[in-house]
């Protein structure tokens, strides 16, 4: 087990190192940063001083080492736009994104599992047909367009919910959260639903497939023969066995929810790090782009590592191979 963990950790470390290299080389391809840093009427001396100040006159490998050194010390440079450490700005925006992603994940569980169970238990019901067609739509609908439709229907036509922003927030553990106020919750509903749409379909289909596989098995038949109520079978036998793959998928997909929040945040003007990266790309705020990519890569490596560890704990067969 420990040898496995060590190898896995080493692999994660190599992935992070490779990504720093890719991001660093990639960012050096982007247009000349000197143009954005120096005003048009600067003289040659000022130009050279700025280039030297940012270390842009050194060879690329030396710049990379300096970048790595900074990264280890938690310094990824100052944002050109905000004139503050890029990492600090990202960490300020992160709670909003995590809140949105968590809300979407919870929605996908609350909606996906009951619908999937129903479809699995009653495969021939017309309601199931309806649910399954809906889930195909959930896969095919372009997420950003659904977001626009949600705004059009619920914000513009019906006027029930706000079209963007976080609304009123309340502080908890030194961070502002929307879900603690009624107004904040109202702002959270549409973006969370938009982000959850694809995951609802995914959870639904997974639960249905698992249910269809488990129901004909002997232990369910035994439980029925014992005279257990359908309720008890559902909760004690069926649901418990379904939860392992469902939790795995939800865990694995959490990273992708965070990544896709880039789109949702842009539509609903949700001030998280997704909207931040899009804005930063538009104005070529290089330190910001680098900081975001590094944080998100780290997030993914950690998520994948955790899921792999969970796997070995839950399923002893994996440990052997």
């Amino acid at each position: 087990m420990s040898a496995w963990l060590l190898r896995r950790l080493l692999q994660a470390f190599f992935v992070v190192m490779a990504m720093t290299l890719i991001v660093f080389i990639g960012i050096s391809v982007i247009g000349d940063p000197v143009e954005t840093l120096i005003s048009q009427d600067a003289d040659q001396g000022e130009r050279l001083r700025t280039i030297a100040a940012f270390g842009l006159d050194r060879p690329l490998w030396a710049q990379y080492l300096a970048f790595l050194n900074g990264a280890i010390h938690g310094d990824l440079g100052n944002s050109f736009v905000y004139n503050e450490p890029a990492l600090r700005i990202i960490f300020q925006r992160m709670p909003a994104t995590l809140e949105l992603a968590l809300a979407a994940t919870i929605l996908s569980i609350l909606i996906g599992i009951p619908l999937g169970l129903y479809a699995g238990v009653r495969p021939r019901s017309p309601v199931t047909k309806f649910i399954m067609t809906g889930s195909i739509l959930g896969f095919s609908l372009p997420g950003f367009w659904v977001g626009l439709l949600l705004i059009m229907v619920f914000a513009v036509q019906l006027g029930w919910l706000p079209s963007g922003g976080r609304g009123q927030t309340r502080e908890l553990f030194g961070v502002d959260w929307s879900f603690l106020t009624i107004d904040g919750l109202r702002h959270l509903v549409l973006p969370a639903l938009n982000l959850a749409l694809f995951k609802i379909s995914l959870v639904l289909r997974l639960v249905r497939a698992e249910t269809a596989e488990i129901l004909p098995q002997d232990y369910i038949r035994t439980a029925r023969a014992k005279g257990l109520s359908e309720r008890a079978i559902m909760f004690r036998h069926l649901l418990r066995n379904i939860m392992i793959p469902v939790i795995t998928i939800i865990g694995l997909e959490f990273g992708s929810v965070v990544a896709f929040s880039v789109v949702t945040e842009t539509i609903f003007a949700w001030p998280g790090m997704g909207k931040l990266i899009i804005d930063s790309i538009h104005v070529l705020d290089r330190p910001m782009i680098v900081a975001y990519l590094m944080i998100i890569v780290l997030l993914f490596v950690v998520i994948n590592l955790l899921v792999d560890c969970l796997y070995t704990v839950l399923d002893p067969r994996v440990r052997v191979s």
Partner: protein, 301 residues
């Protein structure tokens, strides 16, 4: 995509006809196919069937800006789907946008399939270090969401049709490589490969004349789904302003342009390009889903 490879991959003569009749058995798939053919034709024939050339500024009248669907212009032309902020007929803009969306989707899928299939076949055939290195890379890439990788590449390269295609190829090749390797591993254990090796055929010949044709079926199946995904991803990227340039608006770009007018109730500028996008993606998925069922070798005959 040509149908010839399916015939080549077929185990017996007449299999193509059986495939056709099996494909026809699904009403959903046939609806999808008809829809898809109509969409592709509309895109190809856009310059001839569109009511106006949406990018010829002399044909646009800014006074006709943001007219609702069904309005009639001063010259007597009916804007069936309304106009955008510059007085452009949305129906024409959608037809032209469809061209760009389909072009990007199909080109990137073909290029990714070529790169992915070659790398997958080589990995399966070569084995050893090369195989494990390539497959590690595939696993690694598939563990990151597609949008993130595309976002990163476009952040580095900037927008433009060629850059979007490149980003989509880099995003998609891994799925093809994994499929190609998996089916090549199965095929390479079969006797005809052994026979070809025994006859002294070169590696290149075995790879491309024997293995490749027999791995085409699964590649075709994921290829259809990947085209749909590529089109949707391109639309998303263009919506975010990172995809195609303003001068060559795809469907995603059209939706982005109408976004600001949504809040004032002028829904049609964003709504109808979205419908076109949805129909395209759904038609491809409907065909692809059934194609997978029909071509699945495990399916009982």
């Amino acid at each position: 995509m040509s149908t010839a490879p399916i015939v080549g991959a077929a185990p017996r003569p007449g299999a193509f006809r059986r495939f056709l009749s099996a494909f026809r058995s699904s009403g959903v798939a046939m609806t999808g196919l008809v829809l898809l053919v109509a969409i592709v034709l509309a895109a190809l024939l856009a310059p001839w069937i569109a009511p106006q050339d949406p990018y010829d500024l002399t044909q646009l009248d800014i006074l006709d800006g943001r007219l609702p669907p069904g309005s009639v212009s001063a010259t007597g032309m009916t804007y069936w789907l309304g106009t955008d902020d510059q007085g452009r007929d949305m129906l024409s803009a959608i037809l032209y946008g469809l061209r760009i969306s389909l072009f990007v989707g199909v080109t990137s899928a073909l290029a990714a399939a070529t790169v992915g299939a070659i790398l997958g076949l080589v990995a399966a055939y070569a084995g050893g270090r090369l195989e494990s290195a390539l497959m590690r890379l595939v696993d690694l890439q598939l563990s990151f969401p597609t949008i993130l990788i595309a976002l990163m590449i476009l952040a580095f390269l900037g927008k433009g049709i060629a850059n979007v295609v490149l980003a989509l190829v880099i995003v998609e090749w891994a799925a093809y490589a994994r499929t190609a390797r998996a089916s090549a591993l199965i095929e390479s254990r079969k006797e005809y490969i052994e026979a070809a090796t025994a006859m002294g055929a070169s590696s290149g010949r075995i790879l491309f004349r024997h293995l490749l044709p027999n791995c085409l079926t699964p590649l075709l199946v994921i290829g259809t789904v990947q085209v749909a995904r590529a089109i949707a991803l391109e639309a998303t990227l263009s919506f975010l302003g990172l995809g195609v340039p303003v001068t060559e608006p795809s469907l995603g770009m059209l939706i982005a342009n109408g976004y600001q007018y949504m809040l004032s109730g002028k829904f049609w500028i964003s709504f109808y390009p979205g419908v076109a996008l949805l129909l395209t993606v759904m038609a491809i998925n409907m065909v692809g889903d059934h194609l997978r069922d029909v071509l699945n070798p495990r399916r009982g005959e």
